[in-house]
């Protein structure tokens, strides 16, 4: 036993203490294998498509893609917050439809572009707020609440358009949101990038973001720390509603028309991107960068396969398979082993 203890002296407590701090960077890598992995998958896929399609790796196509994904990027930021609290927002697609329909109807009714813009944003925020209040203060599961609103908001959109698509004669600046370019970069893409950066800051650098993660991890613990968790949760849904509304304006101005079904399936695309990026549906783990990569991964698969002129009869088969393969590669090759939390 003496030998064993003899060795001991070399294992003195000091080393453990000295390497304590300044681990932020390697810790970041360790914590974010998933993000690095999905980025790697994204790069590989892009290389693949560049080789097999002449038009994929062109500036034009890249800018197109940015513009096409702008709405998804904007909404995915707030969806990430919602899902990180262990919630979900299924109503974003419907809110997007409603916003697109509403801005068209309002402008047709003679309102100015600015007034219409503002009203649509406020309506989105209110709809989100209603979701948030019911979820937080009445403690109803988010899945059911936002599913119900998905249905009634879709109904509202249908009601105000009567099932038709309505042309938008907005002012120049309003159209620019969807169609404009600055230095050849789509305005919508610029807005999306700003939103992403702000969203990243909120999640990682503010109290709000910490509580969002904390609520997803252990809601009761955050409550016991004296935080108003109901308010935090409510706000995430309000923001999400407002963002969806804005995304609706982006799409409507891009198409030059509002209609009640532009948002069909939009919620699934966004949720899929967020989950793909590594945010846990069970809450407590959220990554903005991952969500962004998730949006791009889905977008690149879609765009690349289309450019490769894959027959529409088999494109879905390939899309689904590539998606599955991408996650498997990400999990088992890049991130090494599976995530701890489901």
């Amino acid at each position: 036993m003496i030998e064993a203890k003899g060795k001991m002296t070399s294992v003195s407590k000091k080393p453990a203490t000295t390497i304590k701090q300044n681990k932020a960077v390697p810790q970041w890598i360790a914590n974010n294998k998933q993000i690095i992995g999905i980025f790697a998958v994204l790069v590989i896929l892009s290389l693949f498509f560049s080789v097999f399609s002449n038009s994929f790796a062109t500036t034009g196509n890249m800018l197109n893609m940015l513009q096409q994904l702008a709405a998804n990027l904007i909404v995915c930021v707030f969806m990430t917050l919602v899902i990180t609290t262990s919630g979900i927002d299924l109503s974003v697609g419907s809110i997007l439809s409603l916003a697109s329909a509403l801005i068209a109807v309002l402008i047709k009714a003679g309102l100015g572009s600015f007034e219409a813009f503002l009203i649509v944003l406020i309506v989105g925020a209110i709809v989100g707020l209603i979701n948030g209040v019911v979820i937080s203060y009445l403690s109803i599961p988010p899945f059911i609440v936002t599913l119900a609103s998905m249905i009634y908001i879709q109904g509202l959109a249908l009601l105000i358009t009567g099932g038709y698509s309505i042309g938008i004669d907005g002012s120049a600046w309003l159209n620019a949101i969807g169609q404009g370019r600055v230095l050849n970069i789509p305005v919508s893409a610029i807005i999306a990038i700003v939103v992403v950066v702000v969203g990243w800051g909120v999640l990682t650098q503010t109290r709000f973001g910490t509580y969002v993660i904390g609520i997803g991890s252990n809601e009761e613990s955050v409550r016991r720390s004296g935080v108003n968790i109901k308010k935090i949760k409510m706000l995430t849904y309000m923001f999400s509603g407002m963002a969806a509304s804005f995304a609706g304006i982006v799409l409507a101005t891009r198409l030059g028309s509002g209609s009640s079904n532009v948002g069909t399936g939009f919620e699934m695309a966004v949720i899929a991107a967020v989950v793909l990026g590594g945010t846990s549906l069970f809450g407590g783990i959220g990554t903005m960068l991952g969500s962004v990569f998730g949006v791009f991964l889905i977008g690149v698969i879609d765009n690349g396969l289309t450019l490769m002129n894959v027959s529409p009869y088999i494109i879905q088969i390939i899309q689904g398979s590539v998606l599955l393969l991408a996650v498997i590669v990400n999990t088992h090759v890049f991130s090494g082993k599976s995530l701890k939390r489901r």
């Binding site: 038709y164 289309t306 450019l307």
Partner: protein
């Protein structure tokens, strides 16, 4: 523009590429129009690229943009949102790529040629047929139920045009409209509930293929063959069976493969900078017991 491909259009050396953006691949109409286009393309020795946006107007836009990006020689579009498709078509026009709009009518300068059925006009025709049918055959006042698809602009248009026309029969009453959402199963459930709620209903209209299949299945499950006279758009096996059994009275049948083949013909001409008429009409047929036989081969 003076890119490689368009200059190749006057020589025969380079194969033309034509893009075709459809609406979905779940209805007979679109599937047939794709088939028509593919056969025509093969015949003319051009490459046809088909894209399916699955009812999503935004995706349709993206796909048109992608085709423009690939510098195809012409684009055929069956529009989901006849207004929302215009910005993308303009992009194509700006890139000097001719746009051929089939089926749904798009009102824009960007469209070089419009090939289509006026859905509203044809629905009106069917409405007039129904008005006459009621006058000639029905003793009791007509009670009409409708199975629609409110998420399809074209079908909303058909439905409204039909309703406007049949309202000319003063005794006719619309008992209810239900939304089948362009899915057979949903249409069937809605149609069954419609029949349950309105046992007095004696006329039914369906605005498209899934709606009509759903309606037909509901007629069978509710044993309404003797009570109901069914009208609608787009043939199917079930609809033909209904015509044979006598309870489906009339169905508007388009000739979707013609849209495809005419579209490709026009596209090739336009790509070769030849002149094409601004509008090409594709006729529809009202299928009844009298002429159903000539369509049966399509649904074997």
């Amino acid at each position: 523009s003076s890119n490689g491909k368009s200059s190749a259009s006057d020589g025969k050396s380079k194969q033309l590429t034509i893009g075709f953006v459809t609406i979905n691949q779940e209805a007979y109409f679109f599937t047939e129009s794709i088939r028509g286009a593919q056969e025509q393309a093969k015949k003319m020795g051009v490459k046809l690229v088909v894209q399916n946006p699955n009812n999503d107007p935004v995706k349709q836009n993206n796909q048109i943009e992608n085709l423009v990006n690939q510098k195809v020689d012409a684009i055929i579009v069956d529009s989901i949102d006849t207004k929302g498709v215009i910005p993308a078509m303009k992009e194509a026009a700006n890139a000097h790529i001719p746009v051929i709009s089939i089926d749904a009518i798009v009102k824009s300068d960007a469209v070089s040629t419009q090939i289509g059925v006026d859905n509203a006009e044809s629905s009106k025709e069917l409405g007039q047929y129904v008005n006459k049918y009621i006058k000639d055959n029905m003793k009791k006042p007509a009670k009409l139920g409708v199975v629609g698809a409110l998420n399809s602009f074209i079908q909303v248009m058909r439905q409204n045009a039909f309703l406007d026309t049949v309202k000319q029969t003063p005794s006719l009453k619309v008992v209810n409209i239900v939304d089948g959402k362009n899915v057979q199963q949903t249409a069937m459930t809605s149609a069954e509930n419609l029949m349950t709620g309105h046992p007095e209903m004696n006329i039914a209209f369906a605005s498209g293929e899934p709606a009509l299949i759903g309606l037909a299945s509901a007629v069978k499950s509710q044993h309404k063959e003797k009570k109901l006279s069914v009208f609608g758009w787009d043939l199917s096996k079930q609809a033909i069976q209904g015509i044979d059994e006598g309870w489906v009275k009339a169905v508007i049948q388009q000739h979707p493969e013609k849209f495809g083949s005419e579209g490709v013909k026009a596209a090739v001409k336009l790509a070769k900078k030849q002149k094409v008429a601004k509008t090409i009409n594709a006729p529809v047929t009202i299928v009844t017991k009298d002429n159903v036989d000539q369509f049966k081969h399509l649904f074997k």
